[in-house]
Amino acid sequence: MTKYAMAVDLDRCQGCRGCMTACKVENNTVEGNFWMYVFRFEQGTYPDTEMSFLPRPCQHCDNAPCVKVCPVGARFHRDDGIVLTDADRCIGCRYCELACPYGVNYFNWQKPENAQYTIVDWQDDSLDPVTGGLVPPYKNPDLDQLWGEEQRRTAGGGHDKGVMEKCTFCVHRVEKGLDPACVETCPTDALVFGNVDDPDSPVSQYLREHQTWQLLDEAGTRPSVFYIGGSPPSREVTEIERPKATV
């Protein structure tokens, strides 16, 4: 059996948001959509303030509220614990987004092609030597494949206008035996991913050696993401430095 889980060590996280960028590059999510999101919190009043960080990927709950409310079974829970969205099944009712207490779901409000970042003018011919004509916009070819034994188009983002998308634990990488992009990128190794049913896997060892807690335990969602160190966010904190990007 395989059961994937992620450990997030808050004592190591420095809030660099590199994981957010890696996720965007890997999954081609549109502007304003952050499948991996890192909260930057501030607590107290100047000069006695304290900052803390909280990476928030999809929690891939074993008792996922989004799976329960999906009217057409586009959102489903695999035996290995990954919760996925079938972009070809989703009808865009956005109920999953409301059911999720973590706020990890992102809807494609417009054609994804029109919502990619426009810092660069992709039509500029002088870019061709660099991009080899792969843009606009660059699209990871793995994302349109069918993955897993269920063989559905579940990987990556920016599929279609009017469908819901969210973190997939980079299912297209996991299926190849790789770590998710955020884990791969993290410069401080604050993110650890792997199979918890294998006692020798790095994540199993990490979880054994540390005390863990889970986000919004009281919601009864049984997440597959475990936090180490730090503390659950209180109501006293203020979110600062939200990304400027909007839909």
Binding site: V67, G73, R75, F76, H77, D79, G148, E149, E150
Partner: protein, 72 residues
Amino acid sequence: MRRILTVLLIVVGLGLMVVGYVSSAPWGTSSITDADPAFTGAPSVFLIGIVTVLAAALVYELLPARDDDRVE
């Protein structure tokens, strides 16, 4: 005739609704497929069940009168 047909339609319709409802989602399993109905289109069976039950009222009222009905 009219009554038999009406009752039959109601019974068949309710039966279809039960079948459609139960097979719309296999309860109690935890596999990948538990997000999908037992067979594709199972919800349509439920829908046809609703329509069949309602058709009973139409049949009861609209079936052209025959001699045996006059005796009622």
